[in-house]
Amino acid sequence: MHRGKGMKFVGDSRIPAERKPNIPKDYSEYPGKTEAFWPNFLLKEWMVGSVFLIGYLILTVVHESPLERKADPTDASYIPLPDWYFLFLYQLLKYKYAAGDYTLIGTMVMPGLAFGALLLAPWLDRGPERRPVKRPVATGLMLLALASVIYLTWESVVNHDWEKAEQQGKIVEVEIDKEAPGYKVYQKQTCIGCHGGNLSGGSGPSLIGTGLSAEEIANIAKNGTGAMPADQFKGTPEELKQLSEFIAGLEKK
């Protein structure tokens, strides 16, 4: 390329008038079987990408992305679960020395140390050796961290009640008629406190599609069942009838 005096430009711009040929470098003299990135290697990369994309699209079609029911901040019985890649942290916080008085260890110290060590790895592991076996400390610590993350994730998966998790988040497609006299009684008699504003359950179970008859429901309201104490219902018999018929009429769609 021409440099210095006598350079020609396009118009009054600073673009050189001399055109550079648009051809790739010659890689044949490079050592080994070096290849050009464009187009040789990129083609292979994109072919892998295409296969990956097909698999990915199949995944999205086969497994619909989950959506639970609308957030209800009053539902105190919901057991939260983070996305899977935070599960190990979630599990870590269940252990004695990472909870209670030691919460800080679980939430800050351990993740902080791990992340900090990762960030500063080039300065912690300064030797010239690159092979994993030649730097046993770095390799060992990483394997240890890896094993503990896998173990903690595994533990949290095994210990989680997936069936209940699915139940508690289900979208309930029942239109609750909140103007119905039965619902008014439901509100007034504080059933709402445990069974939720949509009768979908809270600390008490869901009342939708119980399969019980109105008489059975009336009986439970008066005498309790399971964890539900007796004498929860303090209204008139007329109200009890309205309530039990209202709840018995809630069918799962």
Partner: protein
């Protein structure tokens, strides 16, 4: 025709050097799976980038329907998933992509770590890479809240409790993230939306740009 258009632009802007700079770089034998199958481990970084592109695209399209508001967020997600054609696929791409990108990035990190590729002179690129890792986790955490369903709300509650345990600045940090000292609601959602859609992607693009420029400058690390 295409060649003529190219020449026309090239005459005015001299784009050939820029173009050659992107296209011309060597791919050494030891990273090419066509020569050594074990070199497939070098694919993880590229796949991470590929999924990131999908995430950005699908996110842009999702935001055509999504509203970050506690009354309408859930309804709009439900609507776009169930009533808009291909809504299941577009939301699915974003949802599964979020997991896949973490997997790929994790594998990429392990590859670089076990090969000791972060050693001199590539320390800075490693640091930028770990920062990208952090940004991605942040994107996962903030994006989890946006559909405003049960798991979104309660997982975020826990996440914010964790933020609160930070000594001294914990409560302030939580309020900063949630928009309110006690409530996790309307203001939390808009904040998480802004972080998920503007702040973190902005940071991500900057960091990824730096990551790629450094790779091009230094070339890929040599064989073990």
């Amino acid at each position: 025709m295409l060649q003529k258009m190219y020449d026309w632009v090239d005459e005015r802007l001299d784009i050939t050097p820029m173009w050659r700079d992107i296209a011309d770089h060597e791919v050494p034998e030891h990273v090419n799976p066509a020569h050594h199958f074990s070199a497939f481990v070098y694919c993880f970084g590229g796949l991470t980038f590929f999924i990131t592109v999908i995430q950005i695209l699908s996110g842009m399209f999702l935001s055509m329907y999504y509203v970050p508001d506690i009354i309408n967020a859930y309804e709009s997600v439900y609507y776009l998933q169930n009533e808009v054609a291909f809504g299941v696929i577009v939301r699915g791409m974003h949802h599964w992509g979020a997991s896949l990108v973490i997997v790929m990035m994790f594998l990429h990190t392990l590859r670089v770590f076990f090969q000791g590729a972060y050693k001199k002179p590539r320390e800075l690129n490693w640091v930028v890479g770990v920062m990208i890792f952090g940004v991605m986790l942040g994107l996962g955490f903030t994006g989890y809240l946006l559909p405003w369903d049960m798991k979104a709300l309660f997982a975020t509650k826990v996440g914010l409790e964790i933020a609160q345990t930070v000594p001294v600045i914990g409560p302030a940090l939580k309020t900063l993230l949630a928009g309110d000292a006690t409530i996790i609601g309307a203001q939390t959602l808009t904040r998480f939306f802004a972080i998920h859609v503007f702040f973190l992607p902005g940071a991500l693009l900057g960091l990824m740009g730096a990551h790629f420029i450094m790779i091009r400058k230094q070339g890929i690390s040599g064989p073990l």
